[in-house]
């Protein structure tokens, strides 16, 4: 009896000391890892996590002209957003912009990558040309297109003249302006997208194409039934990335149209910029920014939940 009690007590002591030893080891490991992680974690706290919390707080306060919080207003800004025709318009414009650019980028880069994947002499030069927009900034791309769009001097209207079509006021006609802003965006993003798809295509095993050939598949059939299914991971990745990118668009709008004509190109980020930078409505703008964050998060989750199931991972 006494022996038994003694032995359990000893066991507990041993267990406790082993747990203490485990704890000491955990701490020692953390102390070893911390110097490596701390610089990044501190910077993320200062420039990502704290500002996110701060955005939430700010969105519930009225502010003065330099952004200091003056009065608690609760959820009033969020209610006002639902009635703000400017904000609702910017959401609708952004949605249309997403619908223009995301399929645009995917289709253009799918074509370019298919061409670039052909095995021919000199193909490397074409591949570099297709990837070239990767190096170009939104601001310079916008300026290049601004001249192409010029009503009287620009080549685009000249091409329309050649085709005997009526000229278009690309950036001044509310019907065309958003499309005109979307084109440089598609051009810019197609560089990166082509590179990603091309890499996916080059990862496909040669044997699959030979098997398809033996089964009597022609060039198009093997593209449709071998290449396309096997690059769905790349396409899915690009779908997510270009959708998020379209929601964050600012530069092209700011340079080309400044949101006009009559707010036809006023995308969400440009509306946020106008609210806080020009109108000094920091709280109201923060509410808009948080809604943007939530929309992007929900869309990403939907894309992962719904579309990813149809992606074929080899």
């Amino acid at each position: 009896m006494a022996v038994l009690a003694n032995s359990t007590a000893g066991g507990q002591v041993a267990q406790r000391s082993s747990r203490a030893r485990q704890r000491r080891r955990d701490i020692a490991q953390w102390m070893a890892a911390l110097p490596y992680l701390a610089p990044s974690l501190v910077l993320f706290s200062v420039f990502v996590f704290y500002p996110l919390v701060r955005s939430v707080v700010l969105s519930m306060y009225a502010t003065n002209s330099i952004g200091q919080m003056t009065r608690f207003v609760g959820t009033r800004y969020y209610q006002r957003l639902l009635e703000s025709s400017e904000y609702l318009n910017s959401l609708a414009v952004t949605a249309r912009f997403v619908l223009y650019t995301v399929p645009g980028v995917l289709i253009v880069s799918l074509i370019l990558a298919t061409l670039g994947n052909l095995r021919l002499r000199g193909i490397a030069v074409y591949r570099v040309a297709f990837a070239l927009p990767l190096a170009i900034s939104g601001a310079t791309a916008a300026l290049l297109f601004m001249f192409l769009y010029h009503p009287t001097l620009g080549p685009f209207n000249y091409f329309l003249d050649l085709l005997r079509l009526p000229r278009v006021g690309w950036l001044i006609d509310p019907k065309w302006a958003l499309m005109a802003v979307a084109v440089p965006r598609i051009w810019l993003q197609s560089g990166f997208a082509t590179v990603v798809i091309l890499a996916g295509m080059q990862g496909i095993s040669e044997e699959l194409f030979e098997a398809a050939k033996i089964d009597g598949a022609g060039r198009f059939a093997s593209w449709r039934h071998v290449t396309l299914p096997l690059i769905t991971p790349s396409l899915f990745f690009l779908l997510v990335v270009t959708t998020l990118g379209a929601f964050q668009t600012f530069t092209e709008v700011n340079v080309l149209t400044n949101g006009g004509p009559v707010d036809a190109t006023q995308v969400v980020v440009h509306e946020i910029y106008r609210s806080f930078y020009f109108n000094g409505q920091y709280g109201f703008a923060s509410a808009q920014a948080l809604i943007l964050f939530v929309i992007m998060l929900v869309l990403t989750i939907i894309q992962f939940g719904v579309i990813e199931k149809r992606v074929y991972y080899a």
Binding site: Q29, Y36, L43, F44, Y158, Y282, S286, A289, T300
Partner: protein
Amino acid sequence: MSTSLALRKTAGQAVVYLALTVAAVIVVYPLYNGLVTSFLSANSVYSYPPKLVPVEFCWQNYLDALHQAPLLRFVMNSFIQSSGVMVSQLVLASLAAFAFAFLPFKGKQVVFLVFLSTMMIPWESTIIPNYLFIQGIKWDDTYLGLIAPFMASAFATFLIRQSFMSLPRDLYDAAVIDGCSNLRYLLTVALPLSRPALGTLAVYSFLQTYNQYLWPLLITNKIEMRTVQIGITMLRDAEREMWQVVMAGVVIVMLPTLLLFVVANRQLIRGLTAGALKG
């Protein structure tokens, strides 16, 4: 029979090359048109029809562009910002990646998720507090204000981590048994073996930062602190439309990144796609 087959093959190849060339011309055209326009005289730019091929080489436009806006100062500002961001991302990402790839510690998954979540929070949704913060500590119109928010990067960390994970684990274990410290292993073994990933990251973060627009637009007000992407729009606003001068400015501003791309595109493309598809 065999000649007609050969003929058909040649014809098919010709069609393919034609398609490739048409695609390449369309992709390169905006750039080409900018370059051609940058060398035209004002008379040619403002006459109809637009000149689609280089008919003259008017270098004066480049001098005018440099004269109308302090472009070289803008380029220098952007170089300082981009180099600062690049160097700090290389250092901080290598450190964090080392902890993720080699060091055992409790809660690694959680810390990994913390890093990952920074990629899910769009910069635009936190930009107002960041702007107020940088203004509050009087870092607007400074290089620090341009660099600090971008010094740490989860994407950069994952890119380097990917490379570290491909190194043989035994190498690290053996080094530790031999009494090699973590820091020494990182500096003398892991980093030299990860040169391709470091090169990719260096090029990528430099390009990204050089091409930034919204943040420098918000926090620089003095002309001498403007970065290139903001400064270049000054040419457009400066005087009554001088498109040949604007295009010359655009070419000057694009030149560093285009050269970087031509030199390093292989490196950049291979590294980025490896990261994008595996990560």
